[in-house]
Amino acid sequence: MFRYIVRRILLIIPTIFLALSFLFALFFVLPGDPATLMAGGANRIVDPGVVERINERYGLDDPLLVQFGDYWKRTLQWDLGESFQNRRSVNDILGDKAVNSVRLAIWATLIEVVFGISIGLLSAMRRYSISDKLTTVVTAVASAVPVFVLGFLLQYAFAVQPHKHGWPDWMRLRTQGIGPNTWTLFFIPTGQTWRYLVLPAVVLAAGSTALAARMTRGSMLEVLGADYMRTARAKGLDGHQAVWHHGLRNAMLPVVTLIGIDFGLVIGAAVLTEKTFSWPGLGSEIADSVISRDLPVTMGLTLVVVLAFTVVNLVVDVSYAWLDPRIRLGQDRNS
């Protein structure tokens, strides 16, 4: 087990290095000179002296390899550089935005786990009932609807319509921004903040909740038909005891993997959700910085996302290997 974990950790180091190096090279060939951008924008005439000083300050005229070496030297000391656009330190931007994204992600994950798994279980235990069929249709639609279309649909239903029909204020949800941004215990919204949180959290959770419900339903159906479940019933457990004590644990295994596979999807959904609701998080900041070619911000924030992605996958793989010895033994034999 220990050897397995060490090997996995050693494997992710080159993965992270290559992924970020590839992105660095890609952004290096992006059209649009960052110095000109900083000096006043692409559409205005800028003083060539200013451009030269900026190039000097950030080393933008150095050859690719020198810049590349500098980038890694700084990054390894956890200095993510400063924004081309407003000279803010990327470490500061990261601190600001990451907490908002993490709060949104916590609520989306809670929704996914609670609703996704319970809906999937209910569906599986009442197979072919009306509620099961309804679940199948709703989850299929939820995985096909684009995040931003769902976002606008909910804005229309819970903000535009109440406004049009003059509903009392306490029934209306907010659609833009994060509001007073007050929280207790890090993630519980206080004051008016919850009105800003509800819609983006639901929209971010929608796709993965549907996926979790489908996965849970499928794997629970498989488990319910397994021989050991028949054995459990044969030795006298009633249906519920058998499901809770024997079925659930085994049915949850594939759902655990889903968290790892799903993470990339969640990041994409987070970018779109945060853009749609003007939620001040990492996702919208990354998208904006790529479009405005603010290289240090893009690289710094992407680094954190790549780290989070690989760590999540590592944890999922390790816990899976711990739960299922066949995986780690199989890996040992291959190497």
């Binding site: 993965t15 992105l23 992006l30 059209p31 096909a144 684009p146 931003f148 606008f152 779109l272």
Partner: protein, 291 residues
């Protein structure tokens, strides 16, 4: 020299497809998806004949009209017929969906086949490469490549084609790993066939079913991604009638004219759903073990 393959096509392949079609036809959801896609393709091909206005043609004095007989989907803020734009938009989405899926399939097949067939160092290198690309959030990669390649339909096809092959490569590799150990591959080797011939003429046709299923779902995924990139402002440029772009343009009018957003949004949703349903149906139809 070619009789073993002829025998194969006469006695094994045709009955498989015929029985798969029989199973597929019984799946109502999949048939509904297929019917929708056929209708969509016909509408896209016949677009000039079933719409009254051009997709970029403004109609004087008809701004932000709600749906009516003259304009079944209403008109947008500069007086363009939304029905025409949605129908022409199907051309954009389907072109991007099919073209970039073809790119992904070609890359995924090549890498997956080589990795699975040769194994060893080649396999390790290719799998590490997919790990690297999987670690980069696909949306960052897509926005970045789209920014390099410029905003056009062609660059979106390249972007989505280059980011969509990872899952396919893994599926193909897994099939090749198990298929290359079967006796008929050994027989082909014994007959002295080249490795390329064994890979692509003997193993590939048997690894095809999961690829077909995955590609069908992938087309839907690509259309969804294309809409997201258009929405973020790195897709095709205005006035191209791309569905994601139309949603993005309609968002300012949500309170006054919700149809500008909901109709193209609904078109994306239905199309993606149809590809997913057909993909699910194909999976069940091609894999008799499940039934």
């Amino acid at each position: 020299m070619s009789w073993p393959e002829d025998l194969g096509s006469v006695h094994a392949v045709r009955p498989l497809w015929a029985s798969a079609w029989r199973r597929f036809r019984r799946n109502k959801m999949a048939m509904a998806g297929l019917a929708f896609l056929v209708a969509l393709v016909v509408a896209a091909v016949l677009a000039p004949w079933i719409t009254r206005y051009g997709p970029t043609e403004g109609i004087e004095g008809a701004y932000r009209q709600p749906p009516s007989w003259a304009h079944p989907f209403g008109t947008d803020k500069i007086g363009r017929d939304v029905f025409s734009r949605v129908v022409y938009g199907a051309r954009v989405s389907l072109r991007i969906g099919f073209a970039s899926t073809v790119i992904s399939v070609v890359i995924g097949l090549l890498f997956g086949a080589v990795a699975g067939f040769f194994g060893g160092l080649v396999d390790t290198l290719i799998m590490r490469l997919t790990d690297v690309f999987l670690a980069i959030p696909y949306i960052v990669l897509a926005i970045a490549i789209a920014a390099v390649a410029g905003r056009s339909e062609h660059s979106i096809i390249v972007v989505l084609g280059l980011t969509g092959w990872l899952g396919l490569a893994r599926i193909v590799r897994a099939s090749f790993l198990s298929l290359k150990q079967l006796e008929y591959v050994e027989a082909a080797r014994a007959m002295g066939y080249s490795r390329a011939r064994i890979m692509f003429r003997h193993i590939l046709p048997n690894a095809g079913q999961p690829v077909i299923v995955y590609s069908t779902v992938l087309i839907g995924g690509v259309i969804l991604s294309e809409a997201a990139l258009s929405y973020l402002g790195v897709g095709p440029q205005a006035p191209t009638p791309a569905w994601g772009l139309m949603v993005s343009e309609g968002k300012g009018d949500l309170a006054r004219s919700a149809h500008l957003l909901l109709l193209p949004g609904g078109a994306i949703c239905l199309t993606v759903l149809a590809f997913m349903l057909v993909g699910d149906g194909l999976r069940d139809a091609l894999d008799p073990k499940l039934i």
